[in-house]
Amino acid sequence: MMTDEIQLIDESGIRLDGRRADELRPIKIEAGVLKNADGSAYIEWGKNKILAAVYGPREVHPRHLMNPSRAIVQCKYNMAAFSVGDRKRPGYDRRSVEISKVISDAMEHVVFTERFPRTTIDVFIEVIQANAGTRCAGLTVASVALADAGIPMRDLVPSCAAGKIDNQVVLDLFKDEDNYGEADLPIAYVPRTGKILLLQMDGHMTYDEFDKALDMLVSACEEIYTIQRDALRRKYSEDASEKLLAEIQNSNLASIEQPSILEGSTDIPPEDSTIITDNRKGGGFND
C-alpha cells in the first residue's frame, strides 16, 4: 500500500509541512466581508479558503419546513468546482449534504432559535480552496458570520480535527496527511461550557489515541476561539473606527453615485426617472 512508502512524520516528530504533532496551521479570520449578506466572514486556515454568508432570520421556503415555535438553521456547505486539484463536479453530493446537516445541527444548539418563530436562518459556506479540514473551518467561520449577522447565540463555536498518521496522533491534518493517514476526528467544542457539538470519526483509533486526540482538540479549540473573537473585535476596534472616519472625511459628494441602498420609490418626478431606472439595472435592489 501507498501508506508504507510515504513517511508522513519524521523521527524528530516534524510533519511534511514542518509542523509538530500538536500544532495548528496558521488561521486568519475576517468578519463582515460581504455587503449584501446580513452577516459574513472569511477564513484562511492553512491553504483552506472559505467564505461564509448569513441571511436571516427570514421567511422559510419551502413552507413545510417552517416550525411554528422556533427558527430553523439551514447551513449549505458547497465546494467550488476549482477548490480542489481535480475539478469537483459542482452541486450537491452525498458528502456536502452530510456536512451541511452536521453543521446545521451544531449551529442550532447555540442559536436562540425560539426568539424567531416561523423563520429560517440561512448560512452559506462556500469553499473556495480546500486542503482538508474544510468542515471544521467552515463551521468555525460560519459561527463568526452568525455573530456578525446579529443573531442571538449562546457562544461562538470553534471546531478542529485531529487524526492519526504513521501511528501517531496529530492535530489538524492537511490534505496529504488526510489522504494517506489512518484516521480523522473532527469535533466542534465550546470552551466555556465544555460541550461537544459535533464529533465524527473516519478510520480507527484506540481508546488511548482517542483520548489523546481529544485533549489536543480541546486546547486547539480554545486557541481557535480566541482567533474568532479577535476577528469580531477587530471589526469594531479603534483602528477600524479611525480608518472609517478618515474615509468619510475624504469622501466628497461628487464622487458619490445615486443611492445604492435605494429600495424603491413612488411617484417618481419625470426628470429623475431615468437615473432611478439606471440604478435599478445596476443592482441597487435587494431581495
Binding site: V110, T119, L245
Partner: protein, 244 residues
Amino acid sequence: MENTEEKVNDDNDFSEEQQEGKPREIVLPGDLLDEGTLKSGMGTYREGKKIFSAHVGIKSVRSNYINVISLSGRYIPKSGDTVIGVVIDLTPTSWILDINSPYSSPLHSSEVPWKIDFGETSRYLDIGDVVLTRVLSVDEIKRIQVTMRGPGLRKLNGGQLIKISASKVPRVIGKNGSMISLIKKYTNCHMFVGQNGRIWIEGTFDDIKLATKAIDIIEQAAHVSGLTSLTEEFLKNQKGMNNL
C-alpha cells in the same frame, strides 16, 4: 405638509451610552457580563446566576438591568413601533404589507382612516404603495397587526425610500431626534424614519442625494462616538461646496 414631518420614534439606547463619557465596551456572544447582582435584560441570557451576552454589541447597565445593544440584525417587530410598509398583496378586506422583517403583516380595512367597502381595497392602496403605520400587536408566534389610525400615520406619496440596518435606526434619529433634525436642517428634506430601517425622504434630487449620503455615513460609523458633530461637519462642507 410641513407640520406632519416628524421624527417618528425616539430610542436613545446609543445616545445615553454616549453621554456617560465612558468608552463603549464591545462584548461578544458568550461573554460573562455579571454574576448575580444585576438582572438579565435585552440581548443577554442567563445560566444559573451568571449573565452572558447573546450578541456582538455594546454593554449598557440601566436601572439594575444589564443590556447588550446589538450592532446588527434584522428588524423584529415590537408593538408600538412606527414602521414604513410597502403593500405587497391585497385581499377583499385587507392589505398585506412588507415591513422589512421576517414577518409580513396584514393591514385590515378597519385600521385605515377611510371607510372601505368589501372588495374595494385597491381603490385606496395598491401594490407598491408606501404607508406609514404603527405596529398594533405582536403575539407569541410573531403574528403581526398594523394600523394606520393614529396621529401622523398616512400614505406616503412621492419621495424616495431607502433602507438601513434596523439596529442603526436609533443613531439616525439621535438623542431626542437631534441627528434627524440636523439632516433635515441642512438638506431641506421631509423625512420619516421607521423603526424597521426604512427611511422615506422627499426633496429635490440633490438634497435627497446629500441626505442619503449622510445617512450612509451614520450607518457605517454607527458605533463611533461623536457622530453628531461628524455628520454636521460633513453636511456643512457639502453645502458649502455646492454653493460655490
